[in-house]
Symmetry: C2
Subunit: 480 residues, 2 copies
């Protein structure tokens, strides 16, 4: 009974304390558990199953676009990290250093990879010699370490899981194309699988990846009006190639420097799912990545035939490739309802003696608790359609939230007032391209540049800060 009580206990409401609401869900939906190493967490089976679904789908998308998986070492010698000047400046302050192997002091310190550009470059230098060796389209699924001061589960942790794509191409054009292709893959994945609408754009100079010529990103807006960077894609030009001495013989027999990219998505996507779709009853999962897409709850399961029938439905749904679970445990139906609501299972299927008599069951969708009575003859089709409906509803509701919270402003004052009145959100405003103005906007209004969206609008002709000619419309916001 102690255990039952724990589960039905309510979580903090998001209106009361958004940060607490978030960590309550993370713990009570059994996604993670803390450990004695600050910023490093246990991802529990239910949380990890979400990540496995993300991995499976993304990995398929990477392979469909011609990428191959590899595995690089987790250690980078200090001298290797230092080869590209901007890169080391960006990462050295936040890496974990290995100084001893067993009882012996190492001749050279090794850092635990914060990202693997330098390792890939060392490898390319060994294997890329001719235009025939290009392109190389690589990816790896690993964890990386960045020694963050403040940490939050999924959103900012010292160790996190991710995939990092690394590619090398004969020409700048091909590399730029790849950078954009993978940003589009990311955006598609977020919208079609996670039901999270994103803004695609370019990061400003001050905000790009250490060592990149340009960084592209997809930005999503959370329930609380804060922005979350969901994925990034970097174009490196030939800067790394020059720093690492990677050259290839061209078709014309000349020595040339190749051009590189990298791109990554991380377990923070799970944080994005929570803060985009979750509610005060717990997690709400988009069907494409839900470990359990439909849970069957027998009602009056002690009565003859109920559990058998429920088992039959489970077998039928499994056969039609729906991730289904029958909960035949001795907890009460009400307790089970709460548990699977907390865990965000998209569809609940209730079946009791009267339903069986009427050859029907009840489908209840998690996000709106809407009930639909369906004939058992139509079960597979009905559940399949429900899952599609849920995806669309989640996406539309997230899009609506973002649109309601996106404010076009033409003065710093208007930004401040709008945010005060309407709460946090995306601010669209014009910018001259000057870093000084970018800093000043943040200082005065509290919102930083999120990205220069590909879809530009001409809100006015002048920079919101200095009044000079505007170059771009920028999305500004507070960020996770």
């Amino acid at each position: 009974m102690a255990q039952q009580k724990k589960m039905v206990e309510e979580i903090t409401s998001m209106e009361e304390d958004f940060a607490k609401w978030y960590t309550d869900i993370v713990k009570k939906a059994e996604l993670i558990e803390y450990t004695s190493v600050k910023g490093c967490m246990v991802i529990r089976p239910y949380g990890y199953a979400i990540w496995e679904n993300i991995q499976r789908i993304l990995d398929g998308m990477f392979k469909d676009t011609g990428h191959e998986n590899v595995s690089m070492p987790m250690f980078i010698p200090e001298s290797l990290l230092q080869k590209e000047k901007d890169h080391v400046q960006g990462f050295a302050p936040e890496v974990a250093w290995v100084t001893h192997g067993g009882s012996e002091k190492l001749e050279e310190r090794l850092c635990v990879r914060p990202t693997s550009e330098t390792l890939f470059c060392e490898h390319y230098a060994n294997i890329v010699h001719s235009y025939r060796d290009l392109p190389k389209l690589y990816n790896q699924w690993v964890s990386v370490v960045r020694w963050e001061k403040t940490t939050r589960p999924f959103l900012r942790s010292r160790e996190f899981l991710w995939q990092e794509g690394h590619t090398i191409h004969a020409t700048a054009e091909e590399a730029v194309e790849e950078t954009e292709r993978m940003l589009n893959v990311y955006a598609d994945f977020c919208e079609k699988c996670l039901a999270i609408p994103v803004v695609k754009g370019k990061k400003t100079e001050s905000d790009k990846f250490a060592g990149a010529v340009s960084t592209y990103a997809i930005e999503a807006l959370m329930h609380d009006g804060k922005a979350l960077q969901a994925g990034t894609s970097h174009y490196f030009g030939d800067g790394f190639a020059k720093a690492f001495g990677i050259q290839y013989q061209s078709r014309e027999n000349k020595l040339e420097y190749p051009h590189q990219t990298s791109w990554g998505m991380t377990t923070r996507l799970i944080g994005a799912i929570i803060m985009t779709h979750g509610d005060n009853n717990g997690l709400v999962l988009p069907p494409a990545v839900a470990p359990i897409q439909a849970v069957i709850i027998p009602v009056a399961q002690h009565k003859a035939g109920v559990l058998e029938k429920a088992g039959e439905l489970e077998a039928r749904l499994k056969a039609s490739k729906i991730r289904v679970k029958l909960d035949g445990s001795d907890n009460s139906p009400g307790w089970k309802y709460s548990e699977y609501e907390m865990k965000g299972v998209p569809v609940r299927i209730e079946i009791g003696p009267r339903d069986i008599e009427n050859n029907q069951c009840v489908l209840v969708t998690r996000h709106n608790r809407e009930k639909t009575v369906v004939s058992l003859d139509e079960l597979e089709r009905a559940v399949g359609e429900k899952l599609k409906e849920v995806h669309d509803a989640l996406y539309n509701s997230a899009l609506e939230n973002r649109e309601r919270r996106t404010y076009a402003c033409t003065s710093l004052d208007e930004i401040t007032k709008t945010l005060e009145e309407k709460g946090d959100g995306f601010v669209k405003a014009m910018w001259c391209g000057d870093e000084e103005c970018e800093d000043k906007v943040k200082e005065i209004t509290g919102v930083g540049s999120r990205c220069i969206p590909f879809e530009q609008e001409q809100l006015s002709d002048t920079c919101i800060c200095c009044g000079k000619k505007a170059k771009y419309m920028v999305y500004w916001g507070k960020a996770y």
Copy 2:
């Protein structure tokens, strides 16, 4: 042309230099590339694709036996590693220590996990309270680090990829059962997917895992007569539970210590594949884990219709779930034959203008270069059957090698002479169970105990070393 030359260059023959033959294959089949960090390697796409197949199949077997994947931190605080006395003694001398995060010295050193028992124990202590919480059947796919002095690709590296299963049970019986179950899963996997016959048995006291009550292992015999431990499964009793204060309330409302297991398999399986099936033309892959199961080589591909027909065959085989590749590059057929032999592709499909005229193609099996002409009408069935045949042939040939090289001996002298005459292999000999005798056998004959096989034979009544009453028949051998 330079590139072509590189590929058809011959490798060292295994009779000339087995170690060199091994590393030649590892490099020339493009499985790995060395890095500037000793003992850490790049697993290249072709090598990683083998690992992905191993992962996919094993992961399915784990899930079928009720296990769930999780993700634990890669760091273990020194104080946590020290909680179980035997465990820390076994691992502390060979761990990599992180001492700094960014520019700051850490208050407590963290080691990079050499294995994760201590992390799982910390987690169990947080989540296991009642008999209702048991068992927990967990697994994770990660890399671990052990600071080895001498390293060899796949066989012994400082960082290696593996899976580590960790389970916790209410009773000792359940835990022992689990230990055995997973050893059987490993043995099945080796025999049915890798075509590697294994001996199942128990490790002697001196050879068991640090902190275990008992360690079970599967042992395989390589081409050169050396043994390779392919997987281990450990029963911990309640030792870890006591060291970490893990207790649960039983059904009878008493506080009890639970019982634990762990079990692991690593990328060294790829080394086992090379040394069990490889030959002087390169790698030979068992079909179940081969990244490419069949390669189509068009002959006279410039002639009208050849590439089109080859493409048709590729599409048909893909549709019937065979991992197939069509090589339509401008290299010569002979060059392609060598390349895919080096890469160990089980079946080669040759198709040229005359074949097309006769509605046929030629299947060539990698391991014996046997040619079979098959009608194109029968393509899918023929290739599918060929792959099964190849698996069986590889398994039988490995089994034959092992049997030929397994020697029953009844005196130390006989061991020495047999090994001198017939070369390395498994020695079966009786043992009293005394560690002193175990050491002495190794000292005098050069072979150490590999395992006490489950299938015991009574070769004689007395210990081969001291002449006292024998307790077990032991497999002895030189080991990787």
